[in-house]
């Protein structure tokens, strides 16, 4: 900007760039009362605007970034690359949540279970027809899970062998009076203690058992507890 400015030039410049610190503009602001008031009005507007633009960031956004990346990893053929993306985004998520940088935390098992639950929404049908016992047995056999008592397990409306964290695992939907629950039987996924988690209206439970763990996800807490009792007494991981 040249050595002097007019009121019109000043207001056009400040109205477009209030933070601009041009010496010519600053001098004009001091010398011209009207333009000084104009600049203060613009600055007040920007302060209000900054507050108005800061809409709340959805709770759990960073966590859902990881879930999305997990689903992406399971879908994409270059799985190793995609899983690396999951790890990187998990770090971003943790960093965003905690407000600090690099973390060594791996992707939580609960997050991966929830991502899988979202991955196959068609399986969540209330009161769906039970699958054939031969199909259920085949899925359990592939996952190296022994069915101790089919009657105790109760109606299973969905049974598939799914790829999960590098293994083929049984993915079941067990029906209960309180609603359906997704069950993942996870040989080799050892836990020190039981874990609970929740996200987007779903509740989850990770139960440590011999040779692995059992994950149960349901919309209703009552379904979670009902299915927990049945599943833990009806199956044994590791044939």
């Amino acid at each position: 900007m040249s050595g002097t400015t007019t009121c019109i030039e000043f207001r056009n410049a400040v109205g477009a760039e209030p933070a601009r610190r041009d010496p010519v503009l600053l001098r004009h602001r001091l010398e011209c009362r009207g333009c000084g008031e104009f600049a203060r009005g613009i600055e007040q507007l920007d302060r209000s605007l900054a507050g108005a633009l800061a809409v709340p960031v959805p709770e759990g956004l960073a966590h859902r970034v990881v879930l999305r990346a997990t689903a992406d990893a399971e879908r994409r053929p270059l799985r190793r690359l995609a899983l690396t993306a999951v790890a990187a985004l998990a770090l971003v998520a943790v960093g965003a949540l905690l407000g600090r940088g690099w973390q060594q935390d791996p992707l939580p098992l609960g997050a991966a279970v929830l991502a899988h639950a979202h991955h196959e929404p068609q399986s969540w049908q209330v009161g769906a027809v039970p699958v054939a016992s031969t199909q259920l047995q085949g899925v359990l056999d592939r996952g190296e899970v022994r069915l101790l008592d089919a009657a105790r397990l109760g109606p299973v409306s969905y049974a598939h062998s799914c790829r999960f964290r590098g293994r083929q695992v049984p993915h079941l939907v067990v029906q209960s009076a309180a609603g359906p629950a997704m069950v993942l039987l996870l040989p080799g996924e050892r836990l020190a203690a039981e874990q609970r988690f929740a996200e987007d209206g779903l509740r989850g439970l990770l139960i440590p058992v011999e040779d692995g763990s059992i994950a149960i996800v349901a919309a209703e807490g009552a379904a979670l507890e009902a299915v927990r009792q049945r599943v833990t007494s009806a199956v044994q991981l590791g044939i």
């Binding site: 109205g15 613009i42 209000s48 605007l49 108005a52 959805p58 960093g95 965003a96």
Partner: protein, 174 residues
């Protein structure tokens, strides 16, 4: 670059920007669920193409560009339903902040909602993301003079919506 170094780099570049990326996406599409989807996809794409970022100082405009492209792709598939943004709470609003500031925020959000996209976006880039006129011009592929004009007009419209019109000595430029 080792995988660990890649993680370090990505975390340093993206971690602190996540909230503002979401807000930027939100003010472009004015749909919370869509904004979240776009941010998630943006970060996945950013990770996959991290090597294309030559200068870490350019991370913010790089992410903004990825987000804009992702949103354009999304718009080809879906048109969002708009919500009344004036009903959204302020990000860190406290009870004692109620009053004129809250009224201003509600009015401003409505005014922003009604602002044409060509005025709304440069203002969000400047006020929310701290982009310079030159950076905004590069992201939006516009002449810097056009950006300046749009920024001035955007503020003029918002001030009018708050019933505090700016005091132009004449009509502003082009």
């Amino acid at each position: 670059m080792t995988m660990s170094a890649r993680h370090h780099r990505f975390d340093a570049l993206v971690g602190a920007l996540l909230p503002d990326l979401y807000r930027y996406a939100y003010w472009l599409c004015r749909d919370r669920a869509l904004a979240e989807d776009v941010v998630q996809e943006t970060l996945l794409r950013a990770w996959r193409s991290l090597e294309s970022l030559r200068d870490d100082k350019a991370a913010k405009p790089w992410l903004i560009t990825i987000l804009r492209r992702e949103l354009a792709r999304t718009y080809e598939r879906v048109r969002p339903e708009l919500v009344d943004v004036a009903d959204l709470p302020l990000a860190e609003e406290r009870a004692e902040d109620a009053g004129e500031r809250a009224v201003d925020a509600a009015l401003l959000r409505r005014a922003m909602q009604g602002l044409e996209p060509e005025y709304r976006e440069p203002l969000v880039l400047q006020v929310l993301l701290g982009q310079t006129v030159e950076e905004i011009a590069a992201v939006m592929e516009l002449n810097p003079a056009t950006v300046l004009t749009r920024l001035f007009r955007a503020r003029k419209k918002l001030a009018a919506a708050l019933d505090r019109p700016l005091q132009p000595l004449t009509a502003e430029g082009a």
